[in-house]
Structure formats: structure tokens, C-alpha cells
Symmetry: C2
Subunit: 358 residues, 2 copies
């Protein structure tokens, strides 16, 4: 059943007249009330007549590999944030789940033209996707989440600032006395994973912390990756483990427990994303918060800039470190089979290295 002004008024505990004012941009209510009303209206699925009419500004959010139908999913707030800003600007938005097969059958530019879309937000695509080639010279203003096209002034890449995120994680651990910090990243070949690995290495170097190739590894974006790597990290003396997302962190905590180690007493663990479940892990997870709502909103602002001759390349959003209970003061642990060299780079016994790498 269609959402009415009365429904919104009830949810917010205000008079229906106030909701009308908010939706119609009246000047005698505060900016924050107006925003709250618009955001709530979008979240509840209310569509104004005005928005329905403005068909010359139809936007599309194409989403792949990512669910967004319930609040506990990464995509939910990303989609919502995008809709919120688009709605404020009276731009209708279609949200269209896609697959690689869909892309093969429906070339990007043709799909945009056929549906009357003036700009798009591409969420969850990988560099291997069929549309990526076309994005090299599409005339349509396009915002890519977490991927980067270096050549087209109509396309920009939106992401969380991974360099700042790595700095937040590592300097937090340094303040707790940690030095041997391992990193279990997401999948190799994913742009975010590669960036985070690069910034892990440069940040460790900047702080003169020991870098060991066996403590900086790619897994997958799932908790299962942990059990192959955590025993090695422990053996190599890691007192803290950074993770490519919260799922990985969950697996890392389980693997540590299996080895008889406690988090954070024996080993500190930091996640990435701050998904809703992160606060409910045991212990509650210290993690990097990606502002998912802002990743939606900023995409709409970026489209606005691209539409008006501002060739943005890589807008980034600031991450935030949410400190919970999975990090604590470092407790030095026995390091075996390692030789620490004077330049503070750890080198592994070559035969052990072979074992770990294959």
C-alpha cells in the first residue's frame, strides 16, 4: 500500500502539515527538520508527485554481487543514501540488480539511452566486468564504487579513504604498544584489497614497524580465510591482526580461540566496515567504519558535479575508527623460528617461508 504523508507524520511524531511543508520545501521549518522529513519519506518509499514528473533527470543505480534489501547488508545504506540526495534534487532513481550476463547482453551506453538515464552509480562491479571496457569512453556521467577508470573524464571513482583507514588502525595499535601487526586482506586483484595492502606496507614502513611478507597476505572476503593464515601469524609472533572486512575478523577471532588464544588479551583484532553484526561479536569488534550512507549520498553529489563540468577523479570519504573490545595493550609473546635483523625487518627461516607460501 502506498505510503502517505500521514504515515510519515506518525513515524516522526509531528503534524501532517509539517511533513507537507518539509516535502514542499517551505521556508518556515528548519533545514534539519526538512532533511529529516525528506530522508524518512525516502526510507519509507514515499514518492512525491513532483519527483514523478522530473523525468529529464532520471538516475540509475546498478548493483551487482551485493544485496541491499535489509538493514544488515552493506548495500542497504548505500542505496538509501543515494536515493535520499536524489530525492532532494527531484531526480527519480531506478535501482537495478545486474549480472555479468546482463552486461554482455545489454551494452552500457545503449542501456542508459534506452531507459532515458542521464547518469549512473555502479555498485559492486569488479574490473573484470563486461561494462568496464565501455566505461573507458562512455559519455554518461558515471560514479564507480571502489573501482577506478583512469582515462575518462565522465567517470569518477568513489571510495573510503583507505590510506587514512590504515593509518587509523595502525596508529591505534601503536598507542597500545603493538609492533608485530599482521594483515589478512580480502581477495587479491580487488582494487580495494590492493590499495589497502599498499597502504598497510607504506604505513608500517613510515612508523618503522617490522614488515614480514608472511604477515601480509590476501585471503578472501569471507571468514573461512582465517583458518589457513592465523596459525602462521601466531607462530610468527603477531600480537595484532588487521582484517580486510568484519567477516574476516569474525573468522580470525574464531581461529584464535581454536588455538587457545584470547582476544584481546593475547591478540588484538581490528575489522573493516563496521557492519551491524560487528558490535555483537564476542568480543565486540574494534573496526573501521565505512560510512555507507555517505557512500550513497556522495555518489549523488558527485553525479551532480560530473553533470556540471567538474571532472572529479577520485572523491574519497573519511573512515572512522570505532574502538570496542577486540583491541588492548600488547602482551609480548614467544616468537619462534624468527631472526630479527638490525633494520627491524623480520626475515623468516627460508624453509618455513616455503611451507607457508605454498
Amino acid at each position: 500500500m502506498a505510503v502517505t504523508i500521514r504515515d510519515i507524520a506518525e513515524k516522526l511524531g509531528v503534524a501532517p502539515g509539517t511533513v507537507s511543508k518539509g516535502l514542499n520545501g517551505a521556508k518556515d521549518i528548519s533545514e534539519s527538520t526538512r532533511k529529516l522529513i525528506l530522508d524518512t519519506a525516502v526510507e519509507m518509499g514515499y514518492t512525491t508527485k513532483r519527483a514523478k514528473k522530473a523525468v529529464d533527470h532520471r538516475l540509475v543505480l546498478f548493483i551487482e554481487n551485493m544485496r541491499y534489501d535489509t538493514e544488515d547488508l552493506f548495500g542497504y545504506d548505500v542505496v538509501l543514501g543515494f536515493q535520499q540526495v536524489a530525492n532532494q534534487e527531484n531526480w527519480p532513481v531506478d535501482v537495478v540488480p545486474i549480472t555479468p550476463d546482463y552486461q554482455k547482453e545489454n551494452p552500457y551506453d545503449r542501456t542508459m539511452r534506452a531507459n532515458g538515464y542521464i547518469a549512473s552509480y555502479l555498485v559492486g562491479l569488479s574490473l573484470k566486468d563486461p561494462w568496464m571496457q565501455e566505461l573507458q569512453d562512455t559519455p554518461y556521467p558515471t560514479v564507480l564504487l571502489d573501482n577506478y577508470i583512469g582515462t575518462n573524464r565522465n567517470v569518477c571513482s568513489l571510495s573510503t579513504d583507505n590510506e587514512e583507514a590504515m593509518n587509523l588502525m595502525i596508529s591505534h595499535l601503536i598507542s597500545l604498544g603493538h609492533e608485530k601487526i599482521a594483515f589478512l586482506d580480502g581477495s587479491a586483484g580487488s582494487l580495494v584489497s590492493d590499495q589497502r595492502m599498499q597502504y598497510y606496507l607504506s604505513t608500517m614502513r613510515r612508523y618503522h614497524l617490522p614488515i614480514n611478507p608472511n604477515m601480509a597476505v590476501y585471503g578472501y572476503f569471507v571468514s573461512d580465510a582465517a583458518k589457513y593464515h592465523v596459525p602462521n601469524f601466531v607462530e610468527l609472533g603477531a600480537t595484532a591482526i588487521l582484517c580486510g572486512n568484519d567477516d574476516i575478523a569474525k573468522g580470525v577471532i574464531e581461529s584464535l580461540n581454536t588455538l587457545g588464544l584470547k582476544v584481546p588479551e593475547d591478540v588484538s583484532v581490528i575489522g573493516f566496515d563496521d557492519m551491524p553484526f560487528a558490535a555483537h561479536l564476542n568480543p565486540p569488534l574494534t573496526t573501521i567504519r565505512q560510512d555507507r550512507l555517505a557512500l550513497g549520498r556522495a555518489a549523488a553529489y558527485s553525479i551532480n558535479a560530473l553533470l556540471r563540468d567538474c571532472a572529479l577523479s577520485r572523491p574519497q570519504l573519511r573512515p572512522e575508527l570505532v574502538v570496542r573490545k577486540s583491541t588492548a595493550k600488547a602482551r609480548p609473546r614467544l616468537v619462534t623460528k624468527l631472526v630479527e635483523e638490525k633494520d627491524s625487518v623480520l626475515r623468516v627461516n627460508p624453509s618455513l617461508y616455503e611451507t607457508i607460501m605454498r
Copy 2:
């Protein structure tokens, strides 16, 4: 004398009624006409009554070390672009030239509050400026041109994408057969100079080109810097010289001519900025175009995002390579006093190195 609607109509060659429609947001003229009218109105100094009234959204552009009163100056388009977008949004803008002394006497937050500014754009400031400390925790949404504050979610850093710029310059020269490419950067300690130096080095490395510390040096942002460095570059066998701005490039061309070398036959030269004079040098300068209008417009879009809970960190704009006559195919020249090593890193004779560095 105040600019009238008739003045704008005359300049654009349209009817005064069309100008009125554009200024009042009427729906029966095209979006592009409306934009042109608004932009022209701003450029001519026309102020609508509507803009005058919206005092709850007053913005400020503080500008230091930079003139902006005529079209040939870097600041002119930056200021204009900022005013254009602010005007479209009905935000009045004050443009306030400042000095370090002004900053000492007028703390940032107090100045913002006293004047009723809700957000600001800081242009031309350096990291040594008195306000920089305050920016670490100001509550005012602030966009900094070409400087970076790493800790405050209310402040973002806007710049041209220097990594892309370096890639454009160097890959253009590679396509012309150049390998020994020198870089005469701007002042050491300036954030843009440091970034460009870093990206010069990483890009040269990525393309497996020879890196020589004596061919990657800081000068100052003036043409005079060239005469100290160009003779060394030539002696070291450089066939192309990248410059930190167009003024430096002007000096480099003069120095080369003094040495009896021609541009581009003997040495190619690339500038940075594409200032209006660059096209009129002899030869017309190949250079990186910074979109100054977009550096103004994007600041206003970024303020909009910051005001609405999008904590942007480092929005960047795409640079463009403008190819004119100062670059051409490489002509191999005699290289003296150099030993090329197998790893393709050039090493200078140590005593020569001493001479050059001091």
C-alpha cells in the same frame, strides 16, 4: 554602476525576458541556457534579490598569496567558479583576501562566527599559516585548496589529481621516444610539490625509466629557478624537462636557448597549469591544464556535501594534457660523465654529484 538584466541580455545577445527566466528558474528555457545566464550574471557582478535574502547560507572564500582580479591570474577562475555554483544555490559569497597577520589577529572560528559564515573555501594558504592549527578541530565545513588536514571530518582537501597529471606528462613523452626525463619541481615543502615529486618518481619507476636524483630537483615557483638547474639537466643527458608550473617552463625554455639548444628539437619541455600566457610562449607550451573554474565549482559542491554529513577527504579533479609545440620526438644527445647500470638506474660520478647538490 549596478549591472542590470538588460546588460546581461546585451552581452549574451538574447531578449531581456530570457534573462529574467534564467535568473528566476523558469522551466521553459533549456538547462544549458539557464546555466549560461546564471554564469554570465555572476561574472558581470549581477546580484539577484533572492540571493541577497538568503543570509542563512553565507559562504566565504578566503584567499592568500594569490591575485584574482584579472583573467590572466590563477585565482580569477577559481573565484568565479565558486561564485557560479554558490549563486545557483542562492548562497551569498564574500571573497576576503587575507594575510598571516590577519590570521593571527582573527582566529578562524571566531571570524566565521562573527560574520555569520556557515562554510569556507581557503585558497592559497600554506601549511605554515596560523589558521592551519585551528583547522585540526574547527566545526565549520571548510575546503582547503592544495593542502591536507588529516584529522578533521569537517575539512576536506581539494586539488588536481597530481598522480594522473604525472602519468599524462610522462606517457606523452614515452610515446615520443623520451627516456631521460628531468623534473624541475616547485618549492620543497609545498604539498603539491611534494606530491608531484613522489608521483614523478613512482611513475618513472613504473615505466622502468632511469631515475637520477640530480634530474629530480626542487626549485621555486618562478622562472628564475631554471638557470641553476637546466645546465645540469643538459649535461646529464635529459631530452625532456617537466616543470612545476608554466613560469618555471618559461625560464627553462630561456635557459635552454641561452645554452644554444632549441625547444622542441633538442629538448622537449612540459609546463603545469596552462595559464593564459602558456599558449603564447615561443614555442607555444605543451602543459597540464588545471581546470581552474572546476577548482572553484568543485569547492562549492564539496561544501554542499560537507554540510550534509558527507565527510569527503580528498576530492580531486582530472587534469588534461594540452599538447602544443614544446614537445617533439626525442633526439638522442651525447651523455657525459654517466654510467648506465644494468638495472637502468643512472648513477652520477660522485664528485659531480657533490658539485651539483651544493
